[in-house]
């Protein structure tokens, strides 16, 4: 039976059309534009291991944005990721300094991350605080703990040979560093969870229509809590890696990371309204941010203009998204036309 125009289901999409209706198209096209600009204007862009460096630069934001994407999909927001990341970095570094074996220190850090996520989740779903307030408070709480513990003096003297590898300062094998491996595995696992598991479906359900989710018997509060726990875990993993990359842990290590993580997720197609988002998009969104800084540095933009250029790039990013939405609409319309001509 002929379908209604807008559902447009019967026509198999060809590869080109599939690409055009992909929600990550915006960020992909933006990356391509950047890469093209870089290729023509900055031959050095492809020199040496620039791209490799670039990935190394952004890996912590990328890991944070993976967790953030899940929180955004489930209809929340997590402002605490930067501070929790720093706190976990501090925990890992301090324990190692005190002589704990690496893996124990890491487990402790991850437990702290999980605990922070759990507290966020419980404050939001049980106490009923708005997500913004709860995670803002957690941000203050986590960074406050680190300040009290360190009194503003960075933790140092915990670097071991293994930790250089974990921080990505030495490759694991070939050109692959540990952080890259972790980010790839994390992206694949979380991507799989979102696409192919019950929990993933529930994240979308809770963020897209919480009442419907509840009526379908989904434990809405617990699902939301799990999203925050996942985000806290990602923050802990990012913290462990950043402590290695940074060689020290100052109390303000996480400042500004939450905005970067949120931006990466949103550039990658997530929505603050919930129910939308993709891990792959967030990864690309993070890369876009890194690429922007990279281009600014390579092009020798005077540092006083960097912020302006950054702002313009962000606007370009969303306009690219907007244009891709238009293209998506046009494609759907074209399909509809074809459909109705077939039906007629």
């Amino acid at each position: 039976m002929p379908s209604r125009p807008r559902s447009a289901g019967q026509v198999t999409r060809n590869a080109w059309e599939r690409l055009l209706v992909d929600p990550t198209l915006g960020v992909i096209s933006l990356l391509l534009i950047f890469a093209l600009i870089a290729a023509f204007a900055l031959p050095v862009f492809y020199a040496g291991n620039n791209i490799y460096n670039l990935v190394g630069t952004i890996i912590t934001v990328m890991i944070l944005s993976i967790g953030m994407t899940v929180v955004l999909i489930s209809g929340g927001i997590d402002l605490s990721v930067g501070a929790v990341m720093a706190l976990c970095a501090g925990v890992a570094a301090t324990l190692i300094k005190m002589g704990a074996p690496l893996f124990l220190a890491f487990i402790a850090a991850i437990l702290v991350g999980i605990a922070a996520g759990l507290v966020n989740g419980l404050l939001i779903t049980r106490v009923g605080l708005p997500d913004f307030i709860a995670t803002l408070a957690m941000m203050g709480f986590a960074s406050g703990l680190l300040y009290i513990a360190t009194q503003g003096v960075p933790v140092i003297g915990y670097m071991t040979d293994e930790y250089y590898v974990i921080g990505g300062l030495r490759p694991l094998f070939g050109p692959v560093t540990f952080p890259i491996l972790v980010a790839v595995i994390l992206a694949l696992v979380v991507g799989w969870v979102l696409a192919s598991t019950k929990l993933g479906t529930h994240f979308f359900a809770v963020g897209s229509n919480a009442l419907a989710a509840r009526q379908s018997g989904i434990p809405v509060r617990w699902v939301k809590t799990q999203a925050y726990v996942l985000s806290g875990t990602c923050a802990a993993i990012a913290g462990i890696i950043l402590a290695g990359r940074n060689n020290n842990v100052p109390a303000d290590l996480g400042t500004g990371y939450e905005i970067q993580a949120i931006s990466a997720a949103i550039i990658g197609g997530a929505s603050l309204m919930g129910g939308r988002g993709r891990v792959f998009g967030a990864v690309l969104g993070a890369l876009t941010l890194a690429l922007a800084i990279n281009i600014i540095n390579l092009a020798g933009v005077p540092s006083s203009y960097q912020k302006i250029v950054m702002g313009v790039i962000l606007i370009l990013a969303v306009i690219a998204n907007y244009l891709s939405e238009l293209a998506r609409g046009a494609t759907l319309r074209r399909q509809a036309k074809r459909l109705s001509s077939i039906a007629a």
Partner: protein, 530 residues
């Protein structure tokens, strides 16, 4: 097509609700209400808007907790602590408000909360979409949902298809008790019939069904019993076989059927031939991409023009274009001879067009504002001094006026409109439209989800509006309703006008109701482009 109800005495009790009470902020939704449901029985739950039907259902499905009362299922007292508990106890529900998740595919929605899984690394982790699809494919096809549509996100479908999906979702699982809260609202005849046959076969398998509807004629030949609620209390239970629409209305509202015009709802002002009347609206070649093509439409003073068509025929889209809510790609619209810009809805209201939208919850009411504020919003200058200064007194007075005039039932016009019953919300929206003194008023599914009494009242409002010289466009998926109210019907299909049926009041008066009805149905199903 009558199906005799099975004798009740032979059936054992499946579910019993005793003495359930539920208070909401300022409202007693249920007041010691009760219900007994036999095994393998279709039990209608009836009552006016706000009688407490949905509240009882949400208690049975574990979404809401009652303040007091007991639920006995299969002889055992159960506590429905949450939706999951209800489902595992064997209670499955189609809710009144669409409870689908737009972000997920149709398939994921159908299986939401009851996903099938397959093993990954020896653990049942991954969703087994292949099996889910295979299991539900036939049922979905019955309701016109194809395999490829199963994989698309629900957000890509319109309201009617969503309703079908919702029904599939509830039918897909074996349950002891299936609750359907107004499942047919807005459904087409064909889909309605499919649903009914499914309901019947479920009953024959021993499933008990609780069925809420405002379309009382549907009950006959299908339902076995009916329990009537009023003001949160159980008025009584009747055997459908030994009752009539009139009796049921009497129970629901405590009034005789005649007062609702139940005898003859087709009193419509006879219009003079249209060429003598002034043309109020004239739309030429209105198009929106390929979705709406070359729609031409004229509405005269005092005339109600009906738009007929199957789901997705594009009726709503046409009126959205008239309102300037969507951008047109071609065409012109004149109102009283003046060309409209169609830039946005503000311009439409200013020019003199008003609309009652089809999706009351999402597009109609502003749930967190008061009834008074909802009434005034489209023309705030009527309740403002100096053109910008809101006068609470004027606003109250205006709302009180309409409350009296249209019979809006609310304790207080300053109460949140979201807490009113559907019918009363709808009347408030009508009031909002009337307050803009429109030259053209568009009613898109004006009686969706409202009770018989409110329906009659809304019909009267539509008629009055036209009788006073207003021009109206009416969209209603129930063909009877459309014909009863319209002077003239345009039939749409796939975004185009495919035919027209004129002089409907005269035809009805001449007893030709079934002829014009089949004419419209034929046109909308197969009509060729004229």
């Amino acid at each position: 097509m009558t199906y005799p109800a099975k004798p009740t005495s032979t059936r054992s009790l499946m579910l019993e609700v005793r003495d359930v009470t539920k208070h909401y902020e300022g409202v007693t939704a249920l007041d010691h209400a009760g219900l007994s449901l036999g095994a393998g029985e279709i039990h209608a739950l009836l009552g006016g808007n706000g009688a407490g039907k949905s509240t009882l259902i949400s208690i049975l499905s574990g979404v809401t907790k009652p303040d007091s009362g007991e639920i006995v299922l299969g002889g055992e007292m159960i506590s429905v602590s949450g939706p999951l508990a209800a489902m595992s106890a064997g209670i499955s529900t189609i809710y009144q408000e669409l409870s689908l998740v737009p972000a997920l595919s149709v398939l994921d929605n159908i299986y939401l909360g009851r996903e099938l899984k397959r093993k990954t690394l020896g653990l049942p982790l991954t969703l087994d979409r292949r099996r889910m699809e295979a299991d539900v494919r036939d049922l979905a096809a019955d309701f016109g949902v194809t395999s490829s549509e199963l994989r698309q996100p629900v957000s890509e479908f319109g309201a009617l298809k969503k309703r079908s999906i919702e029904i599939i979702k509830a039918l897909a699982f074996d349950t002891k008790v299936l609750i359907l809260d107004e499942p047919t609202s807005g459904l087409e005849e064909a889909e309605r019939r499919v649903l009914f046959s499914h309901m019947r076969s479920m009953r024959d398998r021993g499933v008990s069904l609780i069925w809420v509807t405002h379309h009382l004629e549907e009950l006959f030949g299908l339902a076995d019993k009916a329990t009537v609620f009023k003001d949160g209390r159980t008025v009584g239970t009747v055997d459908i076989a030994s009752t009539s629409v009139g009796d049921l209305i009497g129970l629901m509202f405590g009034a005789a059927q005649e007062e609702f015009g139940g005898g003859d709802t087709r009193k419509i002002t006879h219009l003079e031939p249209s060429h003598k009347r002034r043309v109020v609206l004239s739309a030429r070649n209105l198009s929106r991409g390929s979705a709406i093509r070359d729609v031409c439409l004229e509405v005269h003073e005092g005339e109600i023009v009906g738009l007929a068509g199957l789901a997705g025929a594009g009726r709503t889209e046409v009126v959205r274009l008239l309102m300037g809510l969507d951008a047109r790609t071609a065409g012109t619209v004149e109102l009283d001879g003046r060309r409209l810009s169609l830039r946005n809805s503000t311009a439409a209201y200013r020019a003199g067009i008003a609309m009652l939208p089809e999706d009351r919850k999402q597009l109609g009411i502003l749930a967190d504002l008061s009834t008074a504020q909802n009434i005034s919003i489209s023309r705030l200058s009527t309740v403002a001094s100096a053109g910008f200064w809101m006068s609470r007194r004027k606003e109250r007075a205006l709302a009180e006026d309409y409350r009296r005039q249209l019979g809006i039932k609310t304790p207080n016009v300053e109460a949140r409109i979201g807490n009113l019953s559907g019918g009363n919300q709808q009347k408030a929206i009508v009031a909002r439209c009337l307050n803009t003194s429109p030259k053209l008023l568009i009613f898109d599914e004006p009686t969706q989800g409202i009770d018989v009494s409110a329906k009659v009242e809304v019909h009267a409002l539509v008629r009055d509006y036209a009788a006073n010289g207003g021009a109206a466009i009416l969209i209603a998926s129930e063909i009877e309703e459309l014909l009863e109210l319209s002077h003239r019907v345009l039939v749409m299909k796939k975004g185009q006008v495919v035919g027209e049926v004129r002089d409907i009041p005269a035809a009805i008066e001449a007893g030709d109701f079934s002829r014009i009805k089949s004419e419209v149905l034929t046109l909308s199903a197969a009509g060729q482009i004229s």
